[in-house]
């Protein structure tokens, strides 16, 4: 997985490309969590993401919890049908925010 960071419309955007799995989820966590200290809302762009496993869900939940604690918003965009079904079967469709 690669992660590209940019700022767009006042939000920090992380563009994820590839597979968010057990191997790559720690990379996202390392990049995502410190961003909540910056105060800018966060947008995770899933357009180029093909896959999310439970390790990825774990980081997204940690992000959502950190968002609630800091008042910084975390939202997702470009989620594929395949990944949305994963969110639905795990209850994450109700937990996460979508742009």
């Amino acid at each position: 997985m690669t992660i590209e960071k940019k700022v767009e419309n006042g939000k920090t955007v992380l563009l994820l490309n590839g597979r968010l799995d057990t191997t790559t989820a720690p990379e996202l966590q390392e990049m995502l969590i410190p961003e909540f200290d910056g105060g800018k809302d966060l947008l995770l762009d899933f357009t180029e993401l093909v896959y999310v496993s439970s390790a990825g869900l774990r980081v997204l939940l940690l992000g959502e919890k950190t968002a609630k604690a800091t008042g910084v918003e975390q939202s997702l965009k470009g989620v594929s049908d395949e990944i949305m079904e994963i969110f639905e079967m795990t209850g994450f469709a109700d937990i996460l925010s979508f742009e």
Binding site: T23, L62, K65, K68, G91
Partner: protein
Amino acid sequence: MKELITEAKTENLDAVLEFVETELDAAELNKKLQTHILVAVEEVFVNIAQYAYNSEVGGTTIRLAVGDEVVIEFEDSGKPYNPLESEDPDTTLSAHERKVGGLGVFMVKQIMDAVEYRNASGKNILTIKKNQV
């Protein structure tokens, strides 16, 4: 039936997913089904890698057959463990209440049509099945 024998460690996840994906591709399974089956394969393999052998490294044999249904079998010689006995998480809780973790086995059960565990001659054998239609 195709077979992959590998050390059960998370560093080998890419190789495991590539093995399964190659076979599913060859059988021309639709992409959405492939993605979901690969997620289930990751959850099972990573569970074995992280828990079956405590801190030691042991082996896993993965067998795969694609017909009207996709059948994937995972065998390890680690401590006896039936993942089907683990409790399902409450998926209706809010982000604040949800625990981080404990979702892997639940996802395997949600994705696959059948998940079967048996212990034979000291080996854990977990079989997961998914109909193509």
